[in-house]
């Protein structure tokens, strides 16, 4: 039963990737490839075991877990880099606004430029 639900979810992901392929082609490609691989593994679970054995990992589930962890780490790094870039943009924007909206004090009572008061 669960493989039907999983397959349906993966098909939705695949469709979403297809609709996004113009806006973010690389992300869409990655999502598409992953969902196709996922579909293959859901529909033919024994291939995961065979694949795992061929690369020296005990079970198919372990292999999938390792791949998942690696992908999540890559995604976290990607988000981190983006956040950093965003933060630099924010800083530049905030600085520009601060400089443009700087306020001057009322002129003080002084005799021109003569500092000897």
């Amino acid at each position: 039963m669960i493989n039907l639900a999983l397959a349906a979810a993966l098909i939705l992901v695949l469709l979403y990737a297809l609709t996004q392929r113009r806006r973010a082609s690389r992300v869409a490609l990655g999502m598409g490839v992953l969902s196709v691989i996922g579909l293959g593994l859901v529909l033919a679970p024994e291939t995961a075991n065979a694949l795992a054995e061929s690369v020296g990992v005990g079970r198919g589930a372990d292999l999938i877990l390792y791949c998942f962890v690696a992908l999540v780490l890559a995604a976290v790094l990607n988000v981190h880099l983006r956040l950093r870039a965003e933060h630099e943009t924010t800083t530049e924007l905030a600085r520009t606004i601060a400089l443009l909206s700087a306020r001057r004090p009322e002129p003080r009572n002084r005799d021109g430029d003569d500092p000897a008061i």
Binding site: E88, R95, L99, S101, A102
Partner: protein, 227 residues
């Protein structure tokens, strides 16, 4: 002393209760003060303006390093020839700042750094001394600069020096960042003895141990990006 081309940059965050006094005391020796209000939740900007400072206000809170850089940009725009950085919380003395400007003019250095360990401290907590010792050690290790006080917010710099600095450490790691740039550019520096007064206010606002840890993380991240 003519101070027309000297600008004092004061980064401030939630300092409404002290910023007026700080600005007024600075105005006794300096003509041009710019307070950079880092999106305070209180009336810091209004109080500073009323006291006679120019005020730049960040629309979002970015951190002290970012506020300093904004102040540098503003002072450079206004034609500053010498730029002084000064803490808002009243722990620095104005006479020290003007003595440092005089020292900068006298000698052919690019930056004058304040040192409370060549000078004096009033009411410094032990934990603070320990943390500053670590900071000095870290600076010597990473930059080779043999300074006595590496985390003092009081500095005097020439226009050329400030133009070359581009602080990218928005939060509190900027003190180390400035020194790293001093070492990198081979700037000529001198330390100047000053007195730092720890009031209960400045102690409450000061950095904590966790703050130092965060500084280390910030510096580490920067190193990773530069390599």
């Amino acid at each position: 002393m003519k101070t027309g081309s000297v600008w004092v940059v004061v980064p401030a965050f939630d300092e409404a209760s002290v910023i007026g006094t700080t600005v007024r005391s600075l105005l006794t020796r300096f003509d041009n003060i710019v307070v950079v209000d880092d999106k305070s939740r209180d009336a810091t900007a209004e109080v500073a303006l009323a006291a006679g400072a120019h005020v730049c206000r960040h629309p979002v809170n970015l951190g002290q390093g970012a506020a300093l850089q904004t102040g540098f940009d503003y002072a450079l725009q206004q034609g500053a020839q010498i730029i002084v950085t000064f803490d808002a919380d009243g722990q620095h003395r104005v006479q020290d700042a003007s003595a440092m400007v005089a020292a900068l003019r006298r000698s052919a250095v690019d930056i004058v750094l304040a040192s409370r360990f060549l000078g004096a401290t009033v009411g410094m907590p032990r934990s603070r001394r320990f943390m500053l010792g670590l900071g000095t050690w870290y600076t010597r290790l990473t930059t080779g600069l043999a300074l006595t006080d590496t985390h003092n917010g009081l500095r005097a710099m020439t226009r050329e020096t400030v133009s070359r600095l581009r602080l990218r450490q928005n939060r509190m790691a900027h003190a180390s960042e400035i020194l790293a740039l001093v070492a990198e550019f081979g700037l000529r520096y001198v330390e100047h003895p000053v007195t730092v007064v720890y009031t209960s206010y400045s102690r409450a606002k000061g950095q904590r141990f966790t703050g130092a840890f965060r500084v280390l993380v910030d510096l580490f991240v920067r190193r990773m990006y530069r390599s």
